[in-house]
């Protein structure tokens, strides 16, 4: 059996186990065991991948298999991974496990909550291991739909509005995407002269440039909506603010990466000529998004909105980097996906912990928390420093690669937009340090805060699961960068720059 199938079987068994778990405590135990196994499987996959590459296997995708679904239309379930998808699978496993620990206290419909959460994660795992457009779309939808339930049932604030807005906007994106994917299918031809959904076969056969010009924008926008492409990002702040903690973590940490990954793996890899022709337009959108969302974040007073706009800015940077179409920036884009996934999940986890204790998310209503909640506050500072790109943490490696790669373009257009995007770092520093200063430093704002309980073991476990890779990636980025760069070779060849 293909080991990649384990990444679907373990969550499926966990969901099965959850369906038979009653009470308040058993569901979280089942979820924790299941997602720990999933994390172990993801770690094993990374090791197996590195071992295969070390043994000299230079295939584009490793651990490939193909299962027939619908012969008449040549629809198959094709599996395979490269360095990019392996690293994103590991990210998903880490964030999901951390999310389970952070949700340890969920008691309302705990079974249903964990079932929805793990279904969402299954969609993401399925998306990353698929190398055919049909399965990718199917898993994409599977990941999006549980979001509606998770926000609508377990959310807070205007949750019905946020859940509906998020779902409708992402579904509108899916409609664009479906047209784009079907267009690719009908213009594709494999060795047997059949239409195919298989990514590698489509890339080998090529898509005519006229079709690329039509389907590239549809596909890019379709995936871009999930990656918070301006001006289709407005579902994101409301959705994140209303979602329960673990859902915000998974959504911003992992689900939004589906957008960036899809743009990279499908839109650009399969339609490189159109990507090169039209990149200028999307660079304007994504570059604007980076600075626009960052400036919006500094005005926010609700911690979740600050982090949500920060996520829009960082995800905009991922799309911006992908559109630079060179090795350095593309490596940076994947590193940024991983780095942002870890950072933002950590931020949302910490915001959840603070909210549970202070019952507010408004920055000005808190103060002096470093004295009473040292662990949570210290981790918040580290996450903040990673977010603003401090050397030694993951954000620095990712952002530096992106900006160096973007600046490799010698023309004025690319350089001007790169400078604008770089200036977002300063704005990021403003909103991060402002929050740290107001919320964590100074005198204790409310006398009742002095009695707040510190972080519990499950909260510490969740936070450490996220913070260790942030530091690890910052100090030892080369093994990850090497793994990603090797997997960029086919894309760079398609773009004519490798």
């Amino acid at each position: 059996m293909n080991m990649l199938l384990l990444l679907l079987i373990i969550p499926a068994l966990t969901v099965g186990g959850l369906l038979f778990s009653n009470g308040k405590r058993l569901p979280r135990m089942v979820a924790a065991v299941g997602m720990s196994l999933q994390f172990a499987a993801a770690c094993y996959l990374v090791l197996a991948y590195l071992q295969e590459r070390a043994a000299g296997n230079t295939a584009e995708m490793l651990f490939t298999s193909s299962y027939e679904w619908f012969k008449y239309l040549n629809i198959r379930f094709d599996l395979g991974v490269d360095g990019v998808s392996v690293s994103l699978i590991l990210l998903t496993a880490i964030v999901t496990l951390a999310g389970v620990f952070i949700s340890w206290r969920v008691e309302d419909l705990a079974k249903e909550f964990f079932v929805s959460l793990i279904l969402l994660a299954t969609g993401v795992f399925g998306f990353f291991i698929s190398i055919d457009l049909f399965s990718m779309f199917l898993f994409y939808e599977l990941a999006v739909i549980p979001m509606y339930l998770l926000i609508g049932i377990w959310g807070s604030g205007p949750r019905e509005y946020a859940a509906m807005k998020l779902t409708l906007m992402l579904m509108a994106g899916s409609a664009f995407l479906l047209v784009g994917l079907l267009g690719l299918y009908f213009y594709s031809a494999n060795a047997a002269d059949q239409h195919t959904f298989n990514l590698l076969e489509i890339a080998r056969g090529g898509i005519p440039i006229e079709a690329q010009r039509l389907f590239f924008p549809l596909t890019f926008v379709g995936f871009g909506v999930l990656g918070a492409l301006f001006p289709f990002h407005t579902w994101s702040p409301d959705g994140h603010a209303s979602a329960p903690t673990a859902v915000s973590m998974l959504h911003a940490g992992v689900l939004m990466k589906l957008g960036g990954y899809g743009c990279f793996r499908v839109a650009i890899f399969l339609m490189p000529e159109a990507a090169a022709e039209m990149s200028w337009f999307f660079i304007i959108l994504t570059g604007s998004c980076v600075i626009y969302a960052a400036t919006h974040a500094i005005l926010q007073t609700d911690l979740k909105y600050i982090n949500a706009y920060s996520s829009v800015s960082h995800c905009g940077l991922v799309l911006f980097a992908i559109l630079m179409l060179n090795e350095t920036a593309l490596t940076g884009a994947v590193l940024q996906m991983i780095s942002h996934g870890l950072m933002t999940a950590l931020f949302f986890a910490l915001i959840g912990m603070l909210y549970e204790r202070t019952h507010t998310r408004i920055v000005q209503e808190m103060g002096g928390l470093l004295k009473v909640l040292p662990f949570i506050s210290a981790v918040y500072v580290i996450a903040g420093l990673a977010s603003l790109g401090l050397p030694g943490l993951s954000g620095f490696v990712a952002e530096l690669s992106i900006f160096v790669g973007a600046f490799e373009h010698p023309d004025v257009f690319h350089r001007v937009w790169t400078i604008l995007a770089v200036s977002a770092i300063v704005v990021t520093a403003v909103y991060i340090l402002r929050v740290v200063g107001v919320m964590l430093m100074g005198p204790i704002k409310e006398p009742a805060y002095a009695a707040l309980p510190g972080a519990f073991w499950y909260e510490k476990t969740g936070a450490l699961l996220l913070i260790l890779p942030i530091v690890g990636m910052g100090l030892l980025p080369l093994w990850l960068a090497d793994m990603i760069q090797f997997s960029l070779i086919p894309l760079l060849r398609a773009l004519g720059v490798g």
Partner: protein, 162 residues
Amino acid sequence: MGPLVVLAALSVVGGFIPFGHYVSSDRQVMAMHMNMSIAVTASVVSFAGIMLAMWLYRRPSAVPAQIAGSLGSLYQSAKNKFYIDEIYMGVTKKVLFGGIATPVAWFDRHIVDGTMNAIANLTARISSVIKGMQSGQVQQYAVGFVVGVLGLVVIFIYWLKF
């Protein structure tokens, strides 16, 4: 005091650690050169500054006040850290918060988000207008059907000339 001593001691020896061997972007040893003229000038200037400060402030004297008075505005601006803090606050509060972030937030909330909400509201309004067409009354459907067929007949005969 203790941590400061540790940091001071480390700062003395820190420069001798060959970071170029350990920190690299491409696994190659980074070539690092020492520019003697810059190093010597910087060291001499900073050492002279320390000596001057010691001479001026070690014991109470009228000399620092005399020098400050003779330097006038230059002394004042140095004392106020060349107004960097004020400039920073002005740029952050007036330019970034007031001049850029406030209009951006308004645009996002009212124009971008407003457009999305307007599309949703328009859809709901159109739906509320046309939902009456699905009344469940067969007679109403039959009238619609007959009118439609007659319309098509008129189009085919008089416009398309079949």
